[in-house]
């Protein structure tokens, strides 16, 4: 029996890797959902502020009236609730590794990645720092079709939404070639592979719009740090 669309609501933002990855999971599992887009560079909707008063961020996921926050938690909830096309490994060690690397991407890589976008001096140092972190992911993907193994999984969605379809667009806008093929052949191979997947293509922000958006964010961060 098909789920009623109103059972699932996702409040997201077209340019947010955190909400795009939730959409990937929902589409992979064939879960119908209502979607509400936040234009967060402009304003935050009353609904968002009501449902996420602590962090005031997207994504906000509502299922049968129950509110869930934080993309990793939402992804695991989706995996446990709709069991077709599992996105997390079944074995405890595989799960632990997926969670570890997902945390690494969203905390370390994202931080250093954004830092490399806003630095005006010592840009080479920032690039090197970011590449050192990305090298760990190059090692992780070596010998695997996807981070999830034979099919895309949780970690592919986390890395995919954040690196090639968010940070890379920012780096392109700044004229930085952060993950050159000679240095990261496996990651580049993986990027081409995931681009072939329809549900991933459906959940990627348009490249030009995304570059423009990232440049706006960079501008904001730079302006904020001047007045801080």
């Amino acid at each position: 029996m098909a789920e009623k669309e109103e059972d699932v609501l996702l409040i997201g933002a077209w340019a947010s890797p955190f909400s795009r990855r939730v959409e990937m999971a929902l589409k992979l599992k064939g879960v119908p959902y209502d979607y509400s887009d936040e234009d967060y560079l402009v304003t935050k909707s009353p609904l968002l502020l009501q449902l996420n008063p602590i962090y005031k961020k997207v994504p906000v996921f509502v299922h049968k009236g129950k509110v869930l926050l934080e993309s990793h938690l939402i992804l695991e909830y989706i995996d446990q609730t709709w069991t077709r096309n599992p996105i997390l490994p079944q074995d405890p060690y595989g799960k632990a590794m997926a969670r570890f690397w997902a945390k690494f991407v969203d905390e370390q890589v994202t931080l250093i990645g954004f830092r490399s976008l806003v630095k005006s001096e010592e840009i080479d140092v920032a690039i090197k720092e970011a590449q050192e972190l990305i090298t760990y992911l190059e090692k992780e993907i070596t010998g695997k079709m996807f981070f999830g193994g034979e099919t895309i999984g949780f970690l592919d969605m986390v890395v995919g939404s954040m690196i090639p379809f968010c940070l890379v667009r920012g780096w392109e806008g700044m004229g930085i070639d952060m993950i050159p093929n000679e240095q990261f052949p496996e990651l580049n191979r993986w990027i081409e592979k995931i681009k072939e997947i329809e549900i991933v293509r459906e959940c990627i922000p348009n490249r030009e719009k995304n570059i423009e958006h990232m440049m706006k964010i960079v501008g904001r961060i730079k302006a904020a740090s001047k007045t801080a």
């Binding site: 446990q80 799960k95 969670r99 570890f100 760990y136």
Partner: protein, 227 residues
């Protein structure tokens, strides 16, 4: 359970290490505790956690698992048929417990630590206010999660109890340092009573560091600037 199959790299004073040890106790797992020397990092630590070079690291059948909350989840899943469940089985309750545990680390702990690193009275007052506000959130979380039962997890301690409860030793030390009550019986009565129950739990009691010893260690870790 084969002893020698499980090792834990850690230190008696670390909140994050304690989480892993409580979880192992809950599941009655024997393990070899490898105490790190303060000020140095062992070769095994650097080899098992090259990314962060931090403890705790759980090594199970030669495979390392890093990050305290990830270790606790791993222990619950790898030994799922041993002892009580650490995480709720219902997906929503599971997500809520993990949400608040992440809040403890990302928001609450950061505020607590800023009391120790505060320079001057103004900064200290601001840090204290922040801790009080965030502790209030946790009081509400307790009401939401416990459903009238003694622990966040219900009848026995679980993931969120462990995540927050492991801080209780340091919580007392920071209170003493700030000369200000940070777990108030009247402001957050549920948490206050929960704290006592948590510390008395048989899987926790032997691991909770003694306040004087921890305060002395804190002075080493967070030296006061010379006046």
């Amino acid at each position: 359970m084969v002893t020698g199959d499980v090792k834990l790299i850690g230190s008696w004073a670390s909140v994050f290490v304690m989480r892993a040890r409580i979880a192992l106790n809950l599941k009655s797992i024997s393990y070899e505790f490898l105490q790190e020397t303060y000020g140095t990092k062992s070769e095994l630590l650097l080899k098992s956690n090259p990314v962060h070079k931090k403890m705790p690291v759980l090594i199970h059948a030669d495979k390392p698992v890093c990050e305290s909350n990830i270790i606790v989840q791993y222990i619950d899943e790898a030994w799922s048929s041993y002892g009580p469940s650490i995480l709720p089985s219902q997906p929503y309750d599971n997500a809520i417990a993990r949400f608040w545990a992440a809040y403890v680390d990302d928001k609450w702990f950061i505020a607590l630590r800023s009391i120790l690193t505060a320079r001057g009275e103004e900064e200290k007052k601001a840090a204290i206010a922040e801790v009080e506000e965030r502790t209030d959130h946790l009081e509400k979380a307790f009401m939401e999660c416990s459903n009238g039962k003694p622990f966040f997890n219900g009848d026995h301690i679980g993931y969120l109890d462990i995540a927050l409860g492991s801080f209780l030793g340091w919580w007392k030390v920071v209170e003493l340092d700030a000369n200000h009550i940070l777990l108030d019986e009247t402001k957050t009565p549920s948490l206050f009573q929960w704290a006592e129950r948590f510390c008395n739990d048989p899987d926790v009691k032997p691991l909770m560091p003694e306040t004087t010893k921890l305060a002395e260690f804190a002075r080493k870790l967070f030296p006061k600037p010379q006046a």
